[in-house]
Each structure stands twice: as structure tokens, then as C-alpha cells.
């Protein structure tokens, strides 16, 4: 059966002879413009036959085409039928929307598939005394004939020119050209012998302080081929950002750069091996990382970011040749790093923003990414405000006696029976508990409040006579798991001190959100959506987050967890060149509010150091719920 190949994108479909090109296009997943329903009356389904033949009565439909279009093989897809193998170029205007092919990006569905790098199979006439066109021009004209950009808009790097004559002659003038969108115009990244059009890959990378995550994409059809993640090898030079910068200041910059590159290469290699592809055929890499990680990865000194007045060297999106910085991809692959807003609102947060889709919406979205630090962005398609602060390590498990990261054995969900005060816990991987991770801590805080074990200031009510509520060695504490149930050989408890640290962390975040709302002149009720990004948000119980006052009170269906927004955003920017192109403009549009310089923040923070807040009227439903609990349990007033 004949194969019909559709350009651009080289979608292939095999159909019986006599099938219309319109039906073949449908089978290939393309939705063409057929206003008349395929009767040959509207002329909207214009396509060009580039190679092979199709039966089509050109004279009958002559009125729909210009002379130039006729010369280029114009047909109506609904009236042309396939005879043998045929190569069809589908102009964007003949598709129903400008962008037709939607791709499911984990974390955000329906992203138009429009990558910035494309392959063009060129089957060239060999040169002759009558046609002495130079090799490069011949290839560029071949690209244009295949629907690619015009020759003068394509820049050809020297190394491609050095290989070019041999590649063309060894492969009888059949080659595949890889053309990437450059900041302006296009770049001829490679010319390879034969037809390699189905092997075109790209990678999206989340370069986290702790973990590197990579997604490997086929850029011909928008499939994810493999994912991989591994630790950031820089951990050997310090666990957190600050210690990395300090290491870099002691002549460690080039080592940190190398470790970042190695970490990314490890993920790319694992993903490429899993997918069974050659890393040399990765032609684009999109890296999202915070501002310090991005500086370190590129070998740019981050030292001035950690001392007053805290200045980054560069904020804009940068692109660098993979060969130049040692990334395991095609040497002419371009490695893009996300732009940043400031030291604290880095490329990872811009990627989060892309993942929320907030820049496309009229309603205001509040995005909160919580880790050791938190970043919050409030805005819509018109405006954006951001701030950042130390959440304190409490929510990541630090400064809490039994706190831990979200690793196996971490208690991630807790419910406490109001009658018996017995907790029901679930741990990551279902193993015996070792400690409590962020989402478990928020659950505990909310449940202890709901069951009146703690009051709104976070104090444990030692009047309660229950074995789980006890004085403890240093602080009053609540026993979450008895020694025999755990894998650590001791009771897992939450102390009053832990609770105080947690409250301060959540107060900082709530205070920051309120400061952003103030600055925008909005009330919590004006927020259309709250998005939690980051691993913490992924497991968070939304209701409990509101109960403890981590975020302003709002209907639960407005709260979403977007998970790892950094990798989602990197994926989106990889597969959609329009979105990528907007990133610098998005970053520039974001106003950064320095919380320490904002007097109202301190007030907001102090008022939030209550559960859920000193001002109960801001949390009317929580108040109602807590008062119902109190009434039911008959313990002392919530009005501390």
C-alpha cells in the first residue's frame, strides 16, 4: 500500500491506493480545513505534492490556485487521490488552527507541538557543468523546496561546511538537513547522509539543587521516549545553594560547572540508553534551574549573588553550543537556559509559571513553589508580581525533630481520630515510618488543631490525659508512632517546638501571599487558582493547607498541585518554540517584591503566626469547622 508522508514534521501513514489525501491526512492525525465538507467547493484544503504522484484534475479546480501554486504542485486534498508513495506539503493555512498537533506534556495537556528544530530530507540533483550551484546553496535550496525557510535566512556554521562536500557525495546527494530556529533566523545544525528524518530528539532538563530530571523527546512526533533522574553531583561540594556558592568562591567554580554538566550528561545518557537512541541526535536541550544553578552550570561566577547587594551576572535566556559546554548531545545542539527575574526568582520559577499556564489567563493565579525557600508568583496575562523568602527548612523536614525529605519511610499523610486521638499514617512506599515529610507535617498540624490537641498558638494541651499527649524531654509532644511501629527504634513524636517552627514557616508563606495580594490590590477571593509547585506541593492535602493557614482560604477546587513545574515548563519550552520565545518577555514583565524591604510583610507574617491566622474573619470556613470541632469535643476555647 502507498505511504503518504506529510510535511512539515514527516508524519507518515500507509493507505490503500485511491484514498484521498484528505483521508490520509486524517489518518495521520492532521485536521485540515474543509469548509465545504470535502466537496471541492471551498478550496481551503490546499496541499502541495512534492514527490510521487496523485490523481487530481487540476484544470477543473484551476480557479483555486495561482500560477505559482500550480508550479509547486498544488492540489485540493479532498479531490486528489493517492496512486503510489507521495510526499505532501501541508501549508499551515490548510490546517484548522495555526497549530494543530497537540502534545500531552506531563503536568499540562494539549501543548501545540511546534519544536524549534526540524529535519528536511533533501534529494538533490548532482551538480553538472550546466548546474554548478555550490554544495551549500544546493542543500539550502533543497530545504526550501521541502517547505523550509529561505536560504538567506539560514546560517551555516563552519564545521557543517567542512563535512558537507563528503556527506553529499558519499550519499549520492541524498541527505537530511537539521535546521534549528536561532535567536534570529535559522541555523543549519547538521547535514547527514541519507534519510534520518525520523531521528530527531530533544531534551528538557530540570537542573535542581538536589536532583536532575531529564525528559527525552522525539521532536518528529512529540512523543516522550524516556525520562531519567539522578542526584546533582554538586552535592559533593555542599548540600545547599549557599555552600555551593561558597565552594565556588574558593576556586571551585570550574569544578561545580563540570559536576553540573556531568549530572545532566548522566541523565541524558540514561534516557538515551533507555530509549535506544544516539545522544548525538539530540539537537536541543532546554535547562530550567534556579539562578545560582544556572550560573554554575554555565561557569558564570555566582559569588555576588550571596553578598550584599545580591547581584546576578545575567538574567536573560542564554543559548550555548552543546559542544562548547560539554553537553552530551550533537555538537551543534543548542543548550538553552531559562531566564530569571532575580537571584531568588530563577529559571525554575519561570518554568513553573509556564507550567501553570497563568500567562494565558485573565483570572489571577497564585503559584507557590515550596522548598527550603519558597517562591510565590501572583498574576495573569497582563501583570505578574513575585516574591521569595526562607520557608525555613521546617517544611522540608529540617528543624523538626522527626522531619525528613519525602523519601521511603516518610509519613506523608496523617489523620487523627477525634475520639481516640489515634493517628492513621501512610508512609512513602508503605514501609515502617522513619520520620515525617512536609505533607505529613501539615496534616499533623491540621489534625492536632482539629482534635484540639493544640490551640491556635500551637501550644499542646497537656491537660489532655492521653498517652500520646505527654510532657516530653524538652517540650510537650504528641506521639505519632510508637517505637515498636517504627523502623528507627524510638517513638516518632511532634514537639511543641516543631509546631512553632512549622507555624513560622507557614506564616512566612501566607504573609508573602497576602503581601502580593496587597500589592495587586486584590482580596483572596479574587484569586482564580492557587497552584502548588515542587515536590512538597505534590502530596499536600489542600484542605489541611488551608486549615493551618498556609495559603488564604478559598474553595478547594481552586487549588491545584502542578508537581515538578520546572520540568513541565522545560518540556513546554522544548516542544513549543512560541512559548520559548516569550520567556524573556515573561521574565521581564514580573515585578519582584523584596519582602524584607516591604514593611507590611512583617505585620502580615506576625498576624499569620496563628492557626490559621489571628484574624479569623479571613478564614470563615476554617473558623466554622474548628468551632464545630470544639463544640463537639467540649475542650477549651479556640480563642487563645
Amino acid at each position: 500500500m502507498p505511504t503518504v508522508t506529510f510535511l512539515p514534521g514527516y508524519r507518515k501513514v500507509t493507505v490503500p491506493g485511491g484514498t484521498t489525501i484528505l483521508d490520509a491526512a486524517r489518518a495521520a492525525g492532521l485536521s485540515m480545513n474543509v469548509v465545504c465538507g470535502g466537496q471541492g467547493k471551498c478550496g481551503k484544503c490546499l496541499v502541495f505534492i512534492k514527490e510521487g504522484t496523485a490523481t487530481f484534475d487540476r484544470d477543473k479546480y484551476r480557479r483555486f490556485f495561482s500560477d505559482d501554486e500550480i508550479a509547486r504542485g498544488a492540489c485540493l486534498a479532498c479531490q486528489a487521490t493517492v496512486v503510489g508513495d507521495v510526499l505532501v506539503n501541508v501549508p499551515a493555512e490548510s490546517l484548522i488552527q495555526e497549530q494543530k498537533i497537540l502534545v500531552e506534556v506531563p503536568g499540562q495537556e494539549g501543548i501545540p507541538f511546534n519544536p524549534a528544530v526540524r529535519k528536511y530530507v533533501v534529494r538533490l540533483e548532482p551538480p553538472s557543468l550546466d548546474d554548478t550551484t555550490p554544495d551549500l546553496t544546493r542543500v539550502l535550496e533543497g530545504i526550501e523546496k521541502q517547505g523550509g525557510p529561505p536560504p538567506t535566512s539560514i546560517y551555516a556554521p563552519l564545521d557543517v561546511l567542512c563535512f558537507l562536500p563528503l556527506v553529499l557525495r558519499r550519499n549520492e546527494w541524498n541527505a537530511t538537513a537539521t535546521v534549528a530556529l536561532a535567536p534570529v533566523g535559522y541555523r543549519l545544525s547538521s547535514v547527514d547522509g541519507g534519510d534520518t528524518s525520523e531521528r530527531l530528539y530533544g531534551a528538557a532538563v530540570d537542573l535542581g539543587t538536589t536532583t536532575v530530571v531529564a525528559y527525552l523527546w522525539s521532536l518528529t512526533d512529540g512523543r516522550i521516549l524516556a525520562t531519567a533522574s539522578n542526584y546533582n553531583r554538586q552535592i559533593s561540594c555542599g548540600e545547599d545553594i549557599l555552600s555551593r556558592v561558597n565552594f565556588s568562591r574558593k576556586s571551585g567554580l570550574s569544578q561545580l560547572q563540570q559536576l553540573a554538566t556531568e549530572s545532566i550528561n548522566e541523565a541524558l545518557t540514561t534516557a538515551a540508553d533507555t530509549a535506544g537512541i544516539d545522544r548525538e541526535e539530540i539537537f536541543e536541550v532546554m535547562v530550567a534551574g534556579n539562578t545560582v544553578m544556572t550560573h554554575l552550570f554555565l561557569g558564570i561566577d555566582p559569588a555576588y549573588m550571596i553578598t550584599e547587594p545580591y547581584i546576578p551576572v545575567v538574567r536573560r535566556m542564554l543559548s550555548t553550543g552543546a559542544g562548547q559546554i560539554g553537553i552530551a548531545a550533537h555538537r551543534n545542539a543548542e543548550v538553552y537556559t531559562f531566564p530569571a527575574v532575580s537571584n531568588f526568582i530563577g529559571g525554575d520559577i519561570i518554568a513553573d509559571i509556564l507550567a501553570t499556564g497563568m500567562t494565558d489567563r485573565e483570572e489571577a493565579t497564585l503559584m507557590v513553589d515550596i522548598g527550603t525557600n519558597f517562591e510565590a508568583v501572583l498574576g495573569n496575562s497582563d501583570w505578574m508580581l513575585s516574591c521569595a523568602g526562607a520557608a525555613g527548612p521546617a517544611l522540608e523536614g529540617g528543624e523538626v525533630l522527626f522531619g525528613m525529605r519525602a523519601n521511603p519511610g516518610a509519613i506523608e499523610r496523617v489523620a487523627i481520630d477525634a475520639e481516640t486521638l489515634t493517628p492513621t499514617c501512610s508512609t512513602i512506599n508503605g514501609v515502617r515510618p522513619r520520620g515525617i515529610c512536609g505533607s505529613g507535617l501539615i496534616d499533623l498540624l491540621a489534625e492536632l488543631l482539629r482534635t484540639c490537641v493544640i490551640d491556635r498558638t500551637g501550644r499542646i494541651n497537656l491537660d489532655i490525659s492521653h498517652p500520646r499527649v505527654r510532657k516530653g524531654q524538652y517540650y510537650p509532644e504528641y506521639v505519632v508512632a510508637w517505637k515498636k511501629e517504627t523502623s528507627v527504634g524510638k517513638d516518632i513524636v511532634m514537639t511543641e517546638n516543631d509546631i512553632r517552627n512549622l507555624i513560622m514557616s507557614k506564616a512566612a508563606i501566607h504573609g508573602a501571599c497576602m503581601t502580593l495580594l496587597d500589592a495587586a490590590g486584590l482580596e483572596p477571593g479574587d484569586i482564580g487558582r492557587v497552584c502548588f509547585a515542587g515536590a512538597f506541593g505534590n502530596y499536600l492535602n489542600k484542605e489541611n493547607a488551608i486549615t493551618v493557614g498556609l495559603i488564604p482560604e478559598m474553595p478547594l477546587d481552586r487549588v491545584e498541585n502542578i508537581g515538578n513545574g520546572a520540568i513541565t515548563g522545560a518540556n513546554i519550552a522544548l516542544i513549543n518554540r512560541k512559548r520559548r520565545k516569550e520567556l524573556d518577555a515573561i521574565a521581564r514583565r514580573i515585578t519582584y517584591i523584596e519582602l524584607n524591604a516591604e514593611p507590611s510583610f512583617m505585620d502580615r507574617y506576625t498576624s499569620s503566626c496563628f492557626l490559621p491566622h489571628t484574624d479569623f474573619t479571613l478564614f470563615p470556613h476554617v473558623q466554622q469547622m474548628l468551632e464545630a470541632c470544639r463544640a463537639k469535643q467540649g475542650v477549651r476555647s479556640w480563642q487563645a
Copy 2:
């Protein structure tokens, strides 16, 4: 006395306090628009005070300025007087023509000085908690404030970002940014500490098969600082193009590339040492070479140019980082190579064309570059035709018994007394003769014809009884210099065989010119100008060139020698970015006529194998002159 510095270009002038900025500008060589003669009535001499103060009554002349202009320090140059040191930005509109500063390029005067690379001295506010602009943005904004391009149009390479934070902080935020025009937008080539604005250099290079010539320019003020020339070190791998390509085919490409680079570096180093400048401050290099030389220099395989169907890899202008190809300049300097039309019409010929200025003229110019091969271009601002062929080595001194290159001891001019047949020769450097170079050979040919020693077929008239006219060992010959007068220990003669070779060479050139004229539908009389390029043309006696029929007959004042057009063109493209930008378009506009495929060429050639031509009516003045000579001397008829 106060110093007034004019942007862009940092022209400085010291003037007494109270001088008007208009007068200061005049002193600095700037011609400003002063329609009203400097009475403050026309408002055309708008300038902006960037730093320092000038006395100016803004209220009085308020009507000439927009609010924005006022905010940027607008003044009328004719009404503002200098108080102390002042930095003045002069918008292009305030200068009499768009391009004001004309530079004398050897070979072509009055080229507007408009280099593609500029320096901007930025005196930045140090960052503070209130102004946390990143280093890069701070510099780019500083550039814009100095009249440079907007920040988003400037690309910053990674290595500049790596040095940036230290450079700024070590120099208390005073720095000089070097910004080069990129194919699209601009490139931040370097940021250096302090004020280095007066040290900005560029180099133009003629990469000849035999010789490399370099001109070193100051790109701040358009002065030539030094020139240098040396042999092309590739000579060790073969004297001519063909043997170089053959050497390259035997795995010698990288060696030839390296030798080309070393040859250019030698010239650049000599020039830089002569001028006392640092090569690292050369920010642009413009290289003109023939198509094979350009391929070899860039390491692109030229093998396919010398076998059928004779295909170059690339024809367009290329730009490559100096660091990438090892050129001794700033690592981010861009090295440009001239575009080519074909294998035979290379970048050197495009440079020749630039040197003739023919693309700016309505009248047709015929440009002929003669070496071992010749290239001819006929055209004007609308159209251009070109062809090339083997001149045979006769005109360069090969295939002629006593022929030699234009080196010391070469007879370069000859006159023969019609009565005595005694020649008067002048040699290069005035030393005893060793041989005869091209211009001497053409003189001899014309003089022997004029004195009736040879007839129009080139045969020597042995009937003449004179010791200088003799039978010779193999061929009849004319003695140009007696043994005792020479430095070679034997008589220097010109043989009938030499004359035959010379006639074939000149016939090829004349035939090519006529073929171009035919193709353009022109007669010799339609040619406004003939330009000889190349060393040969430099010493050529124009009248003799017409007498022997090297070019069509025309008034002598229409014939010019432009000398080394390759270096002139390279100089022009270096100092004028508009001219450079047009080069690709010029190259694309030139139609190449393959003489071997042109049947009329053979006829034209055969008809030209006479002195001056078989058809005397094409050379009426030569005919008249020769008939007068014949009549005077009474020898046998010129109608051979």
C-alpha cells in the same frame, strides 16, 4: 581647557571655555546641519549632552524639542557653549549627510567611515539594594545611554559573561564595551576595565596565492596605522592554486589551513608591532581571497572545485570567531571572508568590484584583473556579467624566455627608438636587468610593432639589418639588453615564440572582454571606464595595452589602474558596514559566463590573435598611428 568628546566615535577636541558645541564639532571634523548658519533658528543642529555641562537656554529654544529629547539633554549645538569637559551625542540626522566622516582608503578616496564595531565607555552606578540590576543588564543599559543599540538587540557570548563580574568590580564599574554588528543584531564582543575607547582596531587582509597583505586600521578615527605583507606560507606546498588543491587532496587540508592562518597572523603581528598596538585589540578582520584560498583558509575541502563539474562548497560571505580559527586578534573578533560568484570569480574579485565603485555607477565599467588567470567583470549599478580564463603565464613572465615577476631587476618599461631601434628600459629598483615583467612585455610588443620590427601577426622581420634583430638559436629574436648591461651574464632577448605566447594571452583577454560586451549588447564605445586590477595593471602603459589590443580601443582617460583591488575592497568593507552588507547581494547579482561554453568566445579569441586585431576597424586610432609609423619608416605593409 575643556575637552569635548563627540559620540559616536569618541572624537575628542580641546577648546576654550565658551566655545559653542557647533564650533567644537567643526574642530573635531564633524560637519553639522546648520541651515540657518548657526543663529538658533532652524533647530537642525540638535545634540544631546550626555555628561558634563554646557550653557544653554532650553526655555528659549523649547519649541525645537520633544519632552523625551529634553529629558535626554537636548541642546542646539550652535547655541550651547562649553563650560567644562563635556560628552556630546550627535544624532546622525544632525550631520550633513547620513555618513559624514569620509576616510581615504588607498585606491579609493572618500569612503564614509562607518565601521561595524564600536566601543562604548560606560560609567555605571554600582548596584545597591535599591538597584539590583544584573551585571549584564547594567552594562547593556549603559551602552544604550551612550547612544548604542538597545539591550535586547545585543547578544552576549558566554565568555564575556564569565569575565564580566570581575571586570566591573575591579574597575569600580567603569568599563568599555565593544559592540559589533552581527549578521542580525549586535554582539557584545568584550567588556574591558576602564576607558579603552581609543584602542579599537580592525584589519583588512588580501589573502593572495603568493602574497598576504594586511592593513591595520584604527576603527575609532579611520586612520591606517600600519601595513604589512609577506609571502603566503602555503607556497611550500605548491606555487599555484592547482598544486595547493592537489596537496590538500593528499590529506594536506589542515596543513594548508594552518599555513594560511600563520601567514595572516604574521602580517597582523608585523602590522601590530609596527603600530605599537596589542593584537588582542583587533576586533574585526576582513579577508579577501580567491575561492580556493578562502576554502583552504577556513578548512573547507576545495577538492571538488578542480574536477568536473567544478563545484565550490560555499559561495556566501562567512564569519567565524577569530578564536575558533586561530587568527591573532581578540578571541571574539569576527573574521569575515568575502563571498564568491563561482570557483573562478572569488572574493578577491568581489573586492576588486568594491574598489572600482562600479556598483554605484550608471555607466558601464569593465574591470580586468590579470594574473596567471584573468577575470573580467562588466556592469553597473543594475547588472553585472563576469568571466574568467587562463591568461597563460605569459603576462606574469612564464612561457617567455626572459619573463619574470615584477621583482627587482625586472624591465618594467621599454621604449624603442624608431630610427636606431635602441631600447630605453627602466627596471624595478633601477638595478641591472634580470628579465622582463608583464608591463615591460606589453611595452616591448607595442614598441616592436610601432617600429615595424614585428608585423601584425607577431613575426619578426629578419630583413631588418640590425644587430638587435637576429635569427636566434631556436627563433628569431630581438635583443632587449646586451649581456654586459645585464646581471644575468647573457643577452636578454624577446623571441618570436615569446611574442606568439603573449599574443595568445592578450587575445584571450580581449576575446573575453568582447564576449562580455556581446552578452550585454554593448559596443566598446559604451564602456565608461576600464579598470585594471592586480599588480600587473599597476605598471601597465595604457596606450600600449590598447596598441597591442589587450583591451578594446577607447580614449585613454577612460582607462584606470586600481592597483591591488583586493586589499582596497577589503579596506572598504572593513570601515564601512553598509558596503560590507551589500557584498552577498552583489555576488548573487553577478552572472557568470563560462567562456568554454560560449561558442562566440573562440571566434572572438581567434580574431584577437593579431596585433591589435584582425579587424582594424575596431582599433581606428591604432590603425592610424601604425600606418603613420609605417609610412615614416617605409617598411613592408602592416596588412600582413
